[in-house]
Symmetry: C2
Subunit: 114 residues, 2 copies
DNA sequence: CGGATGCGCTACCCAAAGGTTGCACATCCC
DNA sequence: GGGATGTGCAACCTTTGGGTAGCGCATCCG
């Protein structure tokens, strides 16, 4: 059933999921060619079906894919919302940190100037 | 010397660097309190100086910090530019993928409708 | 019904990541 | 000069992550 736990996708999990090149490729394939099963994905990738399943589990934990059962196969669908949310989160962080850095730089210049 | 190789920070490296909670914390401390050494950072963190140095090496590879030698100590400075560049990269990816997904959805609806 | 196809799960393997200790070397400062 | 402080580096340990193989079970379809 691959867990599909509700609501628990922190931006941290998205970063971890996206840090792996194969998982990025899985997402890309899912976006390019639509829903797919672990078996069909394994055909386009240099790894086995079981390995793909593990990556899909990581992507699922991050909320980047969702699983739908269709008869005997399980289709995975990409969901880009957590990705968008994560970019916003990172941008906010960057802005915060830049503020801190600027404040520090101003202090340093003040000290030098006096 | 920590390498400080020029120009080679791919967005992938930034993702890997940011995937670790301790490295995010290191960046946060660097932004909040300004330049710091591996030794001083280790004081605020639950790990040894050497472990911090390894994390700083990863951050350096991603271009997120730069090292400056000052006498016998080495100060690390945060650089948020690669972070900004990475968020833009991710956003572009998200847009591309969403386009693909929409195209696929349109096709599916067309097929259903005919 | 019975073979083929697809999934889930477990055990297992190997490499890499994160962490520590220990020590040699440079630098500061009394 | 010589102790204190800070860094760099190498060896080593342990955990985790990515990957495979094997098997049991459900589902499809001739």
């Amino acid at each position: 059933m691959t867990r599909t736990s509700e609501g628990e996708q922190a931006p941290e999990d998205v970063l971890v999921a996206l840090a792996d090149p194969i998982r990025r490729e899985v997402l890309a394939v899912l976006a390019r060619e639509g829903d797919a099963t672990s078996t069909s994905l394994a055909a386009s990738l240099p790894i086995t079906r079981q390995a793909v399943a593990k990556h899909l589990a990581v992507l699922d934990r991050a909320g980047l894919v969702r699983a739908h059962r269709a008869g005997r196969e399980v289709l995975y669908e990409a969901d880009l919302q957590p990705l968008r949310r994560t970019t916003r989160w990172m941008d906010t962080l960057a802005t915060q940190w830049e503020h801190h850095l600027n404040a520090i730089k101003d202090l340093a210049e003040g000290a030098t100037g006096s």
